[in-house]
C-alpha cells in the first residue's frame, strides 16, 4: 500500500469515527471532538487529492572528466542542470509559455555571445532592462535573476559552462564551450574573461 493510500485509509477512518460519535454519543464535549475529527479528516482527504509533489534536494551532476569527450556531452549535462540544480526552468521557458515569468530562452544561444551569457549568470546586475524590453538606454534595475554561481543555487564553473553549452545547442548554434575547459572540481578555476556587450 502506498503512503498516500495509507493516509487516505486513515483519513477515512478518522471521518468515520467522527460520524459514529455524532450518531451514537450524546455527551456534548465528545460530540464536538467527533465534529473536529470530521473536519480534520476532510481537510486531510482534500490535501491528499491534490498533486503530491515533494521537494527533493537537487541531484549533484558528477563531472567525470574522462567521460566528457565532446561538446555534446557537456550540453547533455547542462540540460540536466538547467531543469534541476540550476532551477532555470523555475522562471524561464524554452519557447513561449503561459507560466513563464522571465524571458523565453529559446534561441538565446544565437542572440547572445557566450561571454554575455556567462556574465548574465554570474553578474546578473550588470545589464538588466526594465520589463525585459531591449530598447532605449540600459537602466540599473534591481535584478530578479539570482547569482547562479553563489548560494542558494551555487553552480560550479563546470556546471555553468555546461548550461551555456546546452543553451547554444538548443539554439542550433555551434557549441563554443570545449570539453578541455572542464576542470577537476578540486582545481582552482580561472574566471572567464568577460567582454562587455555593446
Amino acid at each position: 500500500m502506498s503512503e498516500v493510500a495509507l493516509l487516505q485509509v486513515i483519513g477515512l477512518g478518522v471521518i468515520g469515527l467522527g460520524v459514529a460519535i455524532l450518531l451514537f454519543i450524546q455527551a456534548r464535549f465528545v460530540r464536538v471532538v467527533g465534529f473536529v475529527m470530521i473536519v480534520l479528516g476532510l481537510f486531510s482527504m482534500t490535501a491528499l487529492g491534490v498533486p503530491q509533489m515533494a521537494s527533493l534536494p537537487p541531484a549533484e551532476e558528477k563531472f567525470d572528466v574522462a567521460n566528457i569527450k565532446t561538446a555534446s556531452d557537456m550540453a547533455a549535462i547542462g540540460q540536466k542542470i538547467f531543469f534541476s540544480k540550476g532551477q532555470c526552468a523555475l522562471c524561464h521557458s524554452i519557447g513561449p509559455s503561459e507560466s513563464a515569468r522571465c524571458p523565453d530562452l529559446k534561441g538565446i544561444g544565437s542572440k547572445l555571445t557566450r561571454e554575455f551569457i556567462y556574465e548574465s549568470l554570474t553578474q546578473p546586475q550588470a545589464y538588466v532592462y526594465q520589463d525585459y524590453r531591449h530598447e532605449g538606454l540600459p537602466k540599473e534595475y534591481p535584478a530578479r535573476m539570482p547569482y547562479i554561481n553563489k548560494n542558494p543555487i551555487g553552480l560550479s564553473n563546470n556546471e555553468i559552462l555546461s548550461v551555456i553549452a546546452f543553451l547554444q545547442q538548443m539554439s542550433g548554434e555551434p557549441i563554443t564551450v570545449s570539453p578541455s575547459e572542464v576542470t577537476q572540481p578540486a582545481q582552482t578555476v580561472a574566471a572567464i574573461p568577460v567582454a562587455h556587450a555593446q
Binding site: 493516509l7 490535501a47 521537494s55
Partner: protein
C-alpha cells in the same frame, strides 16, 4: 504516523480525568525520553562532531514538527489572549459593563496555566533541537547569543507582570488602581510583543539571512535580527494571534453554550461567543493585507523563494489555504447572520435578501480563489483543453483574480458586521439619510474600483499590477473600513433601539460554527508554518547552511496535511485540558452552591 495521536486518545477514553492525566503523562514521558534514544544512535566518542541525530521509525523531524507546532500554537494563544483580555477590560472600564471585565478576568485566568504549558513545550523544543540539530543550533547560538539574553530578561519581566496583572485583579478594581491595572495589562502586551518578535528573528533569519563577517557580536546579532522578512512576519503573527485568541474564545463559548444547562449560562456563553467571533473577524479583515506584504517582501528578497511558494511545488498549498480561509469567512459570516436572525426577533424577513446576496457573492469569490492556475488533468484532458490551463477557468487561476476576490470577501464580511451592528436599531439623527447614502456610495464605488483594477490587472505588466494595482485595492478596502466604521458608530450613538437583542436563543449549530472557525484558524497556522519552512527547500539557513540530513526534502502536501491535522487535534485537546483545569474550581463552587440551595 497518526498512531502517535491515536494512542493517548485511546487511553484517555478509559477513565475521565485520570485517563487524560495518564495519557498526558505518557506523551510527556515518551517525548522527554526521545532524545535519549537519539543519543543512543551515536557511539561514545562520535558525538563531538555530529551534525544530526535521529529517532528510528518516528523520525527526528516529525518529533520536532509536532513539538514546534504545539509550542507555536500555544505561544500564539498565550500572546493573543492578553490582547483580547486587555481590550475587553478597557471596554468594560469605559462602558461600565461588568460582564466585559468578568470575561477579561476569565481569560486571564487561563493565561497562568497556558503560560506554563507554553514554556514547557518551549523547553522540550529547545532540548529536541539541541539534540537533533547540534550543528545548526551551535551556528544560531553563535549569532544570536545577545538576543538569547534579551529573551530571558523579557521572560522575567513578562512573568512578573502577569503575576501582578492576574493576582492584583480584584485588589485593583477602583479608581486609580484600575488605571494602574490597565497599565499593567498594557505592559503585559508590550513584553509579550517583544517575546514574540525576538524568536521571530531566529526563524526569519533562517529564511532570509543577513550574515556579516565583521563587527562585534552585538552588531552581527542585530544585522541578523533585522533581516528582510522579520517585520512582515512580526506584523502578520501579531494580527494572527489576535485572530487565534478571538476564535478560541469563541470556540470555548460555543462548547460551553452547547452544554449549558440554565438560561443564564446560555445567555452568558452566547454573548461570549459573539465577542470572540467579533474579535476574530476584527483581526481577520486586515490579515490578508499583512500576508500580502510578507509575500511581497519574500519576492523582493529572493524571487526563487517567492516562486517556490506561489508557483512551484507549494502552489497547491495556496489552494488549500484559499479553501480554509473561504470556510473561515463563510463560518464567521454565517455566525453573524444567525445572530441577526435569532437574537433580533422579527429581523428574519428583513435581512433574508441581503444575506442571500452576500452568501452568493462569498461563494462565487471562494470559487474563484480556489481555482488553481493549472488543473489536475489526464493527458487526454490536457490535450482537449490545449494545455494544463483551462480556457475559461484558467483566467481565474492568476493573482489578479485572487486579489480581487479576497478584497471583495473582506468587504462582504465587513458589511455583514455593519449589518449586525445596525440591526434592531433606528437612526434618529437628522443627517442619517445622507450618511447612509454616503456609506452605500463608498461601498459601491469601492467594490466597482476593486473589480475594475482586477480586470485591468490582466493587461498590464506584473510589476505594475503588484506595485500599484494590488496596493490600490488594499488601500481602497481599508478606506472603506476606516470611513464606514466611525460613521456607523456616530450614527448609532443617537439611534433608538427598536428590538432588544435577546441572548441565548442561538441554535446548537451556532456553537459548532464557532468550533469550526477555531479549527480553521489553527489549521491555517499549521499550513502556513509548513509553507514558510518549506520555502527554504533544502537549506537550514537559506543559502548559508545546507540541510544534509536524510530529511532535507520537503514532504508532499498529503503527508504534511496529516501531520497538520494531528497537530491541530493535539492542540485542541491541550487547550480543552487547560480550560477544564482552569474552570474546575469554579464548577466545584457552583456545584457546592447548588447543593446547598
Amino acid at each position: 504516523m497518526l498512531n502517535h495521536g491515536e494512542h493517548p486518545r485511546r487511553i484517555a477514553s478509559t477513565g475521565r480525568g485520570q485517563g487524560s492525566l495518564l495519557a498526558g503523562l505518557l506523551v510527556f514521558l515518551a517525548l522527554a525520553g526521545a532524545p535519549l534514544l537519539g543519543l543512543a544512535q551515536d557511539a561514545p566518542g562520535q558525538t563531538a562532531g555530529v551534525a544530526y541525530r535521529d529517532i528510528p521509525a518516528v523520525g527526528s523531524r516529525n518529533i520536532v514538527w509536532v513539538i514546534a507546532q504545539l509550542h507555536l500554537l500555544l505561544a500564539g494563544f498565550v500572546l493573543g489572549v492578553p490582547i483580547f483580555a486587555w481590550i475587553c477590560e478597557i471596554v468594560g472600564w469605559k462602558t461600565g459593563e461588568k460582564r466585559y471585565d468578568k470575561l477579561a478576568k476569565e481569560f486571564t485566568k487561563l493565561l497562568t496555566s497556558s503560560y506554563a504549558t507554553t514554556a514547557l513545550f518551549g523547553g522540550i523544543l529547545l532540548f529536541m533541537l539541541i539534540g537533533f540539530y547540534p550543528k545548526l543550533m551551535a551556528y544560531l547560538g553563535d549569532i544570536f547569543f545577545p538576543s538569547f539574553v534579551v529573551y530571558c530578561i523579557l521572560f522575567l519581566l513578562e512573568t512578573a507582570t502577569l503575576y501582578l496583572y492576574w493576582y492584583g485583579w480584584d485588589a485593583m478594581q477602583e479608581g486609580s488602581k484600575k488605571t494602574l491595572h490597565l497599565f499593567l495589562g498594557f505592559l503585559l502586551n508590550v513584553f509579550a510583543f517583544f517575546i514574540m518578535i525576538v524568536p521571530n528573528s531566529w526563524a526569519t533569519f533562517q529564511a532570509s539571512p543577513v550574515v556579516i563577517a565583521e563587527g562585534s557580536d552585538l552588531a552581527r546579532a542585530w544585522a541578523a535580527t533585522w533581516n528582510p522578512t522579520w517585520w512582515p512576519v512580526n506584523i502578520h503573527r501579531l494580527i494572527a494571534n489576535v485572530v487565534l485568541g478571538g476564535y478560541i474564545c469563541g470556540a470555548y463559548a460555543g462548547i460551553r453554550y452547547l452544554s449549558a444547562k440554565t438560561a443564564e449560562e446560555r445567555e452568558h456563553y452566547d454573548w461570549m461567543g459573539y465577542v470572540g467571533n467579533f474579535i476574530g473577524v476584527f483581526g481577520l479583515l486586515p490579515l490578508p493585507f499583512a500576508g500580502y506584504w510578507l509575500m511581497r517582501e519574500i519576492y523582493q528578497y529572493n524571487q526563487q523563494m517567492g516562486i517556490t511558494l506561489m508557483g512551484g511545488f507549494l502552489s497547491w498549498l495556496f489552494i488549500l489555504q484559499a479553501m480554509l480561509i473561504g470556510v473561515l469567512f463563510l463560518g464567521s459570516n454565517y455566525y453573524f447572520w444567525m445572530g441577526i436572525t435569532h437574537r433580533i426577533p422579527g429581523s428574519e424577513v428583513k435581512y433574508r435578501r441581503p444575506i442571500m446576496a452576500m452568501l452568493v457573492i462569498l461563494l462565487l469569490c471562494l470559487g474563484v480563489w480556489m481555482t488553481p492556475h493549472s488543473l489536475v488533468a489526464s493527458l487526454e484532458e490536457a490535450r482537449k483543453m490545449g494545455g494544463t490551463h483551462h480556457p475559461l477557468l484558467g483566467v481565474f487561476g492568476v493573482m489578479s483574480a485572487k486579489m480581487t476576490v479576497a478584497n471583495l470577501m473582506i468587504l462582504v464580511t465587513f458589511m455583514s458586521f455593519i449589518m449586525y451592528w445596525r440591526a434592531g436599531k433606528e437612526e434618529t439623527a437628522g443627517w442619517a439619510k445622507v450618511a447612509k447614502s454616503i456609506m452605500g456610495g463608498v461601498l459601491g464605488v469601492a467594490a466597482i474600483v476593486v473589480i475594475v483594477l482586477g480586470v485591468w490587472g490582466y493587461f498590464v505588466p506584473a510589476i505594475v499590477r503588484i506595485n500599484y494595482f494590488s496596493v490600490a485595492q488594499v488601500l481602497i478596502v481599508l478606506f472603506v473600513m476606516l470611513t464606514i466604521t466611525p460613521l456607523t458608530a456616530l450614527l448609532l450613538r443617537s439611534a433608538k433601539t427598536t428590538t432588544e437583542m435577546v441572548w441565548g436563543r442561538m441554535p446548537p449549530r451556532a456553537g459548532y460554527a464557532l468550533v469550526l472557525n477555531a479549527v480553521m484558524v489553527i489549521l491555517l497556522m499549521t499550513l502556513m508554518g509548513y509553507a514558510r519552512s518549506s520555502s527554504r527547500v533544502h537549506w537550514h539557513i537559506y543559502g548559508v547552511m545546507r540541510d544534509s540530513s536524510q530529511y532535507a526534502y520537503s514532504p508532499a502536501l498529503g503527508y504534511a496535511a496529516a501531520l497538520m491535522s494531528l497537530n491541530t487535534f493535539l492542540f485542541c485537546m491541550l487547550v480543552a485540558f487547560i480550560f477544564w483545569v482552569a474552570t474546575m474550581g469554579e464548577k466545584a463552587k457552583a456545584g457546592g452552591g447548588g447543593g446547598k440551595g
